[in-house]
């Protein structure tokens, strides 16, 4: 199965569920297990929430998602043109959050790293952030 889709939407928190449900519906073409779909939904939700809270803290901006299905692998790119991250390594540390006052857990990146097979983070301060995550949909399902 080879397929591709793109989504673009405003950074409103009501779009968090829209984004994860849309990606899950697209990925369902690969016949994932319920657990694999849950992992993908959670990871998309983390990435999109980060764009809303951290990339565009006091304005609305555009969030883009691109997803590619390639045989038994799904690749999901989630990008913003917001604040950017100064120190990506520090940001990826479990429990690290720059928004302590907002009851953030600092577990977003850690959850994505655990639930997906690969996570790449590219970011430039003042330009934006792009996450590229991959997950292999195990073949024994089919």
């Amino acid at each position: 199965m080879n397929n591709e889709m793109k989504l673009e939407f405003l950074s409103k928190s009501a779009n968090e569920s829209f984004a994860r449900i849309a990606v899950a519906a697209f990925v369902s073409q690969l016949d994932p297990t319920i657990e694999e779909i849950a992992d993908i939904k959670t990871s998309v939700s983390e990435a999109v929430t980060n764009c809303i809270i951290h990339a565009y803290p006091d304005r609305e901006g555009i969030i883009k998602i691109k997803s590619v299905l390639n045989d038994n692998e799904v690749e999901i790119e989630i990008s913003d043109t917001g604040e950017g991250i100064e120190n990506v390594e520090e940001a990826r540390t479990p429990l690290y959050t720059s928004k302590v006052n907002l009851e953030r857990s600092g577990m977003g990146f850690t959850i994505i790293e655990n639930f997906m097979d690969d996570l790449r983070v590219e970011s430039i301060v003042g330009i934006g952030t792009k996450l590229t995550m991959k997950k292999i949909i195990k073949k024994e399902n089919t």
Binding site: S13, A14, E16, S17, R20, E35, A38, K41, T42, S45, E46, T49, I52, I53, P94, L102, E103, R104, S105, M107, G108, T110, I111, N114
Partner: protein
């Protein structure tokens, strides 16, 4: 979210429903804080039976309420935690709040 009132005058139970993300958790926090501050229950229980999605917003929700409840010596318990949610609680070090046995 539904608030089930005291069971045996000890437990204040919040029955969480459907999806806990950043968007939904803001409303849940407001309601939970209102009830907790009003009643100051010894045990605050979050029931996850009807939850079908949760991301790290759920972790922030529990840690935040834990801080409030600890101030007056109360305790937090999480019940009906399925395997999907358990994975997230374990990663975040909140496993110790999960209660395996029935409430009453």
């Amino acid at each position: 979210m539904n608030v089930k009132h005291f069971i045996e005058d000890k437990y204040l139970v919040f029955e969480l429903t459907e999806e806990i993300d950043h968007h939904e958790s803001e409303k849940i926090k407001k309601r939970a804080d209102y009830e907790i501050q009003r009643l100051m229950p010894k045990r605050v229980v979050f029931d996850f039976e009807k939850v079908n999605f949760m991301d790290s917003a759920g972790i922030g929700l529990i840690i935040g309420r834990y801080k409030t409840v600890s101030c007056y010596g109360g305790k937090i318990e999480l019940i009906n935690v399925n395997n999907k949610l358990r994975k997230i609680f374990e990663l975040s070090g909140l496993k110790r709040f999960i209660r395996e046995e029935k409430l009453v």
